[in-house]
């Protein structure tokens, strides 16, 4: 049975500028839902509200029927909503395996006294968490980096590492903020394969992405934002042919040119 991430009428303004204004959408588990729009359209701001980083001025976020609008990101994570960041947020001093192990935090015992005394249960749990993390690294083809400090890994690998860490929390919904930004074509293909696999496992993927080819290939549905407002929603082919979307991206003149071409 598919679950629902339902966003209704989300709005926020910063110092009089309406960054996001009345945006609603629904994403389902197992589906890839893309949010696109020109620079400054409010995509990342929208993400920040859905994931609890910003508090919206208006509107609600419902996760599987539960109102989660006011919850902090760590609470949301424990309810099954995790995310990655546009500008890499990696634990650079930790190894790749440890980065993913941190994602297992909510599944581990929080008994600090046991941690201080290194009780056998903690050692056992550490081994299990590590096994789990290495398996996830293997899934995204990064097993060989397991004991490499994240600070000395290549950029494309870090993008995927961030996804692996988010997956380690076992989310039902995963928000990916520009997962392919700055990746070369080979790395983009790898990211695409990973996203496909995630959705196939029944996780709902919501992504913001600038690489239009990737978005058109990968998405089940697409929401287009312009200046903080929803402009269009639909399947990739509807969006591709939508004149309003073309205008938003290319401007009046460009849209005419494109229509003639």
């Amino acid at each position: 049975m598919s679950k629902l991430l339902s966003v209704s009428d989300l709005s926020i303004s910063f110092g009089g500028v309406q960054a996001v204004d009345g945006v609603s959408f629904e994403a389902r588990t197992g589906e890839i839902y893309a949010i696109i729009g020109p620079n400054g359209a409010g995509k990342t701001t929208l993400f920040n509200m859905v994931s609890g980083v910003y508090r919206p001025d208006r509107g609600r976020v419902m996760l599987d029927g539960q109102d989660v609008t006011e919850l902090e990101p760590d609470r949301l994570c424990r309810l099954g909503l995790s995310r990655t960041y546009q500008n890499l947020q990696i634990f650079f001093r930790l190894t790749a395996a440890e980065n993913v192990m941190v994602g297992r935090h909510r599944h581990e015992s929080a008994n600090v006294l046991a941690h201080l005394l290194a009780l056998p249960s903690v050692a056992r749990q550490n081994r299990e968490t590590r096994r789990n993390a290495v398996a996830l690294l293997a899934r995204i083809g990064m097993e060989r980096y397991a004991d490499t400090p994240a600070g000395s890994m290549p950029y494309g690998a870090l993008k995927r590492l961030e996804i692996a860490r988010a997956l380690a929390t076992e989310p039902r919904f995963l928000l990916l903020d520009e997962p392919a930004a700055g990746c070369n074509p080979v790395e983009t293909d790898e990211v695409e394969a990973v996203i496909h696999a995630i959705a196939k496992d029944g996780v709902g993927v919501v992504l913001v992405e600038h690489d239009m080819k990737l978005v058109m290939r990968i998405s089940d549905r697409i929401l287009v934002l312009e200046q903080g407002r929803p402009l269009a929603e639909g399947q990739p082919r509807d969006i591709r042919e939508n004149p309003a979307v073309m205008k938003a991206y290319l401007g009046e003149h460009g849209a005419r040119e494109a229509a003639r071409a």
Binding site: S51, V53, E72, P73, D74, C77, R78, S82, R83, T84, Y85, Q89, I90, F91, F92, R93, L94, E98, M101, V102, G103, R104, H105, R106, E108, S109, A110, V112, A114, H115, L116, L117, A118, V122, A123, Q125, N126, R127, T129, R130, D147, E162, R165, A166, A168, T169
Partner: protein, 314 residues
């Protein structure tokens, strides 16, 4: 994980060996006393390192917790006649409790603001210890009873060398355990990115508070040992300068290096003794050396040297 385990044990074994073998080169009892002080401050520095080097939160008031531990061990037995060790434990519990209460509001602050808030906390405690002369003897200080363990009265510098050595090794073991546990990973994650830690399901405020409380307990045990070792206690144990010394030990020895905390403590305890031959220039030379350490071994003595010799530091 096997590698980590062996690694963690290595630190403990090396420290135990140092404690066990160092006396072989000591020409006089005086050296035992200095080494005992190194161990005690090393213990406090390890605790502070958990907060600063691992969780990435600064405290300029940690000598305040040393003061709480020290005065609990001094005042408790004198007023109630109960055993000294009980008051070492009670003082640690009190330090942990105070850290918990104070930490909740001030750990919301970051960077310089947190530094100033903890500084204020340390100064507050120093003023309390200085002004409540009915209990603490004021600026002149007060005598401290001897520690008694299973009928053994720990009195001489040599005896204290062994007690503080055992405490240091225990402290290093516990700290090592923490670093490689879920709590330790969460603390280190917060140091690198709070926002990502939250998205990974970590309650950042709670983890910071845990680190603060644990480091306060370390400082408290160290403070009690310091008072019991000297047999006399003045408010200087909790002075601002002491707090700064603790921070300097952590940074000079190496943030995020347990072994570094001991090295940092050794630098700040032993150097002033060694530099007394320079008479009036003692402090100037000490300051200069700390500057040189920071310029040439920026990551701290232990991590910098470990990198130079191609091995990961403890």
């Amino acid at each position: 994980m096997q590698r980590f385990l062996s690694h963690r044990l290595t630190v403990v074994v090396v420290l135990a060996l140092i404690v066990a073998l160092l006396p072989l080169v000591f020409p006089s009892a005086y050296y035992y006393r200095v080494a005992g002080q190194v161990f005690v401050f090393g213990l406090a520095a390890i605790g502070l390192n958990l907060l600063m080097g691992y969780a990435g939160q600064v405290s300029l008031g940690h000598a305040g917790f040393m003061g709480i531990g020290a005065y609990a061990a001094a005042i408790g037995p004198a007023q109630t006649g109960t055993p000294v060790w009980f008051w070492v434990v009670a003082g640690s519990a009190l330090s942990g409790l105070i850290a918990w209460v104070v930490g909740r509001p001030i750990l919301k602050l970051r960077g310089h603001y947190l530094a100033v808030a903890t500084l204020g906390f340390g100064i507050l405690l120093f003023m309390v210890f200085t002004n409540e002369s009915r209990w603490t003897g004021g600026p002149d200080g007060m005598p401290v009873q001897r520690l008694e363990l299973f009928g053994w009265r720990v009195r001489t510098g040599i005896e204290w060398y062994w007690v503080s050595g055992v405490l240091l090794v225990l402290g290093a073991w516990v700290a090592g355990n923490l670093v490689d546990s879920p709590t330790g990973r969460a603390m280190r994650a917060i140091h690198d990115s709070e926002v990502a830690s939250r998205s990974a399901g970590i309650d950042v405020a709670r983890q910071k508070l845990t680190a603060f409380v644990i480091s306060a307990v370390y400082a408290s045990v160290a403070g009690a040992s310091f008072a019991l070792m000297n047999g006399h206690l003045t408010p200087d144990v909790s002075s601002f300068l002491r707090s700064v010394e603790l921070v300097t030990m952590v940074v000079v020895g190496g943030m995020g290096s347990i072994f570094g905390s001991l090295v940092g403590s050794a630098v700040l305890v032993v150097l002033p003794q060694a530099l007394t031959v320079f008479h009036d220039y003692e402090h100037a030379i000490l300051g200069l050396m700390i500057m040189l350490f920071m310029i040439f071994l920026r990551e701290g003595i232990v991590p910098s040297l470990a990198r130079r010799f191609g091995r990961r530091s403890a």
